[in-house]
Amino acid sequence: MLAYIFRRLFYAIPILIGVNLLTFALFFVVNTPDDMARMQLGVKRVTPEAIERWKVERGYDKPLFFNAAAMGVGQLTQTVFFDKSLRMFALEFGRSDDGRDIGNEIRTRMGPSLAIAVPTFLLGLYVTVSLALFLVLFRATALDVWGVVGCVMLMSISGLFYIIGGQWLVSKVWHLVPISGYTSGLDGFRFLILPVVISVVASIGANTRWYRTLFLEEISKDYVRTARAKGLSETTVLFRHVLRNAMIPILTGVVVVIPLLFMGSLLVESFFGIPGLGSYTIDAINAQDFAIVRAMVFIGSVLYILGLLLTDISYTWVDPRVRLG
């Protein structure tokens, strides 16, 4: 098991290098540091000296890949690629264009993101799996048919409308909770409840339908018939047998997103003014702050690879036949 984990982590290195090369190509080769400086400084203040100063301040003045002027190893290390991309492997993200330390920002903003993402994830999973089981219990009845129709309708609504509609109805018409904002601690509960509920509702349509198909696929198998033949009640069959056997396909989709919860949700955080990583990313995109976007891309892919590894490990928990080796 441990050997397997180490091997998988080792495989991750070429993938992360690939990710780095790709983002590096996107950000430095197509848009050279000169273009970036011109964009950041605005049209009025562009002088060759200003561009040069901007680049020196942010460390973009070195050659991209190969520094002929340096000696020895420095030929490779004193380059933009080494400084800006490879250093991320040591989790050194450098400074954003407005001069703040990105690593520090990420650490402080992780909390609010998780405060939204974790309850959303757990509640969403609970609600959608229960609804799906409920529909399967009443399969091939009018309730099931209309349930599926409802799911298709819910999944045809853009996430933007869920957020806008929810904010308008709950905060503006009913005045139940503040429309947006955030404080840490227990007091933050009233700020968190609306975004969490809205995110859960927005995920009901697609997820319920997906779990329903998973359960239906499982329910046509032989062991289910055997269980019924033993005289088990339909609910026991569903909860004790079908649910447990459907765990593998459920875990495949679910576990991989757990590490990504750190990244927060772009839309929800920006609509509700939550100072998490999602709104950080959106602000960076709007300000065209490439240093932050690059850091988030790197973190995102690390977390994704971690998620894949966790998925494999979780299989061994739910299915004793699976052995990692």
């Binding site: 690939g18 197509v30 853009s158 933007l160 990504l260 990313t281 995109i285 490439f290 976007v293 892919s301």
Partner: protein
């Protein structure tokens, strides 16, 4: 010539796509298994109804893709004709009354007076604060406060009547055409359709045509004299904006898959069939792309593309061309980030197919690899491609709205659902609320995505061999 045709790149690609669809239909008519599968699609009532609505949306999109530059009024007898820099479409021409009647600012649906109070100087010179009358909406009424409801009702009834009449005529034509081959003549064919006994659920389609006729008739009767869905901040008619958004949504939903298709097909099938280092390499590429969170990769690529386009204004002769290039680039970027899923499915299928007897036999006969791929593998993975194409459409339409909201979507000057929602979001804070642009974007988007979802379900049920 009174106008100069303009073919934008997305127009051309959209027509290529239409051509491909027509070609595929032509081929499918001659292949019994394909005909059977499509008949299964037709057997679903929701599939038929949603297909009808999709055809209507496609009609709007195609009309909006026939672009031209109108001739300017020649000043001072110059011989050479000068064309306007503004690129219009056939839809714009049809909707001229909606396009040019721009009010000053917000007005509510069907309103005759402005949304906000203004200081008005009456003819006698007295100054009062009141809701001024709109410049265009309800201009034909002498006393709008008294006559408007009556007028709206009359026009609506007449419009719905006319629309229904036209729809009935269409249905009659269609039904007669469909029933012509029936034994017992037209009448029995008609009866079969009306009682819902045909294999293909034509009745569902015809009922949808009636509904569409009523809606279009009602809108067409009111739109020339009122702003049916109100006006936005700069006074543009919201109905016009919504109709224009349809093309953007269609382009994003279809062209994205069109540009990603060759890549996904080639890489997926090659990886699965050849195996070995080719498989390793292709898997590496798509694992790398997959491991970057989609939004971030799109953001990175779009930011880069924006920089590139901003630095080369000389590439484009009109603003429409530049917006179009951005739209196409967005499609390419979305395609680039989402081909991985399809490629993985195709790889798995090719892996399975290469072990089957008929492929083994072809190989034993000495058929070359390219020929096996083209003749034996490719036709047998096409159902996966078709299912992926129709399933992706709705999620792409939804993604466009989100991306435009985040600021990495279409050009801000391109009319799309995303830009409409983005603009409308600010208006929600007003008191009383400006809800109509959001509302109409919601209604149209919901209809489009819902029918796409229902149609995709019907197609998947018919083509996926795992579903009985």
């Amino acid at each position: 010539m009174p106008f100069q045709p303009v073919v934008l790149v997305t127009d051309a690609l959209l027509f290529v796509l239409l051509g491909l669809i027509v070609g595929a239909v032509w081929r499918a008519r001659r292949s019994p298994p394909m005909r059977r599968a499509w008949r299964d699609v037709g057997r679903s009532r929701s599939g038929m109804a949603s297909a009808t609505i999709l055809v209507a949306f496609l009609g709007i999109g195609v009309a909006d893709s026939l672009h031209y530059r109108p001739l300017l009024e020649s000043a001072g007898g110059t011989k050479s004709s000068v064309y306007s820099a503004e690129v219009l479409s056939a839809l714009d021409a049809a909707l001229t009354p909606l396009r040019v009647r721009v009010e000053r600012t917000y007005s509510a649906p069907l309103a005759t007076r402005s949304f906000a109070k203004e200081t008005i100087e009456s003819e006698s010179g007295a100054i009062a604060r009141d809701y001024p009358r709109l410049q265009f909406a309800g201009a034909q009424l002498a006393d709008p406060d008294r006559d408007r409801d009556q007028d709206v009702r009359n026009r609506l009834l007449r419009g719905i009547g006319l629309g229904l009449g036209a729809a009935v005529l269409t249905c009659l034509g269609l039904g007669t055409f469909l029933g012509r081959g029936q034994e017992g003549g037209c009448a029995s064919g008609w009866w079969a359709i009306l009682s819902g006994r045909t294999t293909v659920r034509w009745r569902a389609a015809l009922i949808t045509v009636l509904g569409l006729g009523a809606v279009i008739g009602g809108l067409a009767a009111l739109a020339p004299v009122y702003h049916v869905f109100g006006t936005d901040k700069v006074g543009q008619d919201v109905l016009y904006l919504t109709l224009k958004s349809v093309r953007t949504a269609l382009v994003i939903g279809t062209l994205t898959t069109l540009v990603l298709l060759p890549v996904a097909l080639a890489l997926g099938v090659l990886a699965g069939y050849l195996g070995g280092w080719v498989d390793d390499l292709i898997q590496y590429v798509y694992t790398v792309l997959n491991s970057i969170p989609g939004v971030l990769l799109i953001a990175a690529a779009v930011l880069m593309m924006q920089g590139l386009i901003d630095r080369h204004p000389e590439w484009f002769s009109t603003a429409a061309e530049r917006a179009d290039a951005r739209l196409l680039a967005l499609c390419c970027i979305l395609g680039l980030t989402s081909w991985t899923g399809l490629a993985r499915l195709l790889r798995g299928e090719a892996l399975k197919l290469r072990e089957l007897e008929y492929v083994q036999a072809a190989r034993a006969f000495g058929v070359g690899t390219p020929r096996i791929l083209l003749r034996h593998i490719l036709p047998n993975v096409m159902h996966i491609v078709l299912i992926a194409v129709v399933m992706d459409f709705s999620s792409l339409v939804l993604a466009e709205a989100v991306l435009s909201y985040v600021g990495i979507g279409v050009d801000p000057n391109t009319i799309s659902f995303g830009t409409m929602i983005n603009a409308a979001r600010m208006e929600l804070a007003r008191e009383p609320m400006v809800w109509w642009s959001l509302g109409s974007a919601f209604v149209f988007m919901f209809t489009l995505v819902l029918s796409a979802n229902l149609f995709a379900d019907a197609v998947r049920d018919a083509f996926d061999p795992r579903r009985g």
